[in-house]
């Protein structure tokens, strides 16, 4: 499945079916990551329930140092 993640096109394997799967695929499960899917901010509690689909545009963001 082809997704756009943080502005780059990625091909992810078929076992990635939900946002939680996607985070696990990148080793980001357990990290403080905020997900926006097709411009819609997801509730963190729903990652395991939200499907990812071909062509989705995802932003994975987090907090970094800033003033």
């Amino acid at each position: 499945m082809r997704l756009t993640i943080n502005g780059e096109v990625h091909d992810v394997p078929d076992h990635v079916k939900t946002v939680a799967d996607l985070l696990r695929h990148f080793g980001l499960d357990g990290k403080l990551v905020i997900v926006e899917q097709n411009r819609h901010v997801l509730d963190r509690d729903t990652y395991a329930d939200v499907p990812v689909r071909e062509g989705d545009v995802l932003e994975l963001v987090h907090f970094v140092g800033g003033g």
Partner: protein, 265 residues
Amino acid sequence: MTANPTAVQDDVLKIGPYTFRSRLFLGTGKFPSLDVQKRAVAASGAEVLTFAVRRMNIYDPNQPNLLEELDLSRFKLLPNTAGARTVEEAVRIARLARASKLCDMIKVEIIGDPKTLLPDPVATLEATKILVDEGFIVLPYTNDDPILARKLQEAGAHAVMPGAAPIGTGLGILNPLNLSYIIEEATVPVIIDAGIGSPADAAKAMELGADGVLLNTAVAGAKDPVQMAEAFKLAVEAGRKAYLAGRIPKKRYASASSPMEGLMF
């Protein structure tokens, strides 16, 4: 001891539903290392820490991240909308930050000029209105304009954060008169944000009657950030105490401290 009705132990800062003992807000950018940063945060006594929202590096999931090493129950996070140039971008960043479920405060920061990094006042006011409506605790970073500060208050901002000088310049308080107008008229806390260079600047801001100071570069960029963080903690406390104690009026001519009576000659 003191007849001052504002006893220091009762002197707390209230922003929206939150109460703080520390009046020093610390930014978390540009520190030389995570270890120095953690020790500086501790030395500052800050209860409010600012952060930015950025894309993750998905290729390096094990990058150190300050938030994962802090006891978040001890701090209130104040994410900023830094990087936003429009109302829409700022609102988007604010919503992303809140989706972390770690915070409901937002520092609205919409830059209007790349060279001075001065805020866009019109966009800042507009974003403040939207985010207040969405239930955020909104702290806009603003110009030192008293009329703008008033309009932000009217829009429901929970504090106003006028700059002392352009971000990261360390020039200190360039317009104490305007800041004093803002402070005098404010119905919400006034946090002096940006441009503070030294503890003297922070003390000055507090002596003017500011409710708090937000800074980052002045600590992160110091030769010894940990020692500088403590210096700022003390300066903010000193400035606050001085404000509560009430400074003497300025006079144009000398007045002796020693009595004129009982002179031997």
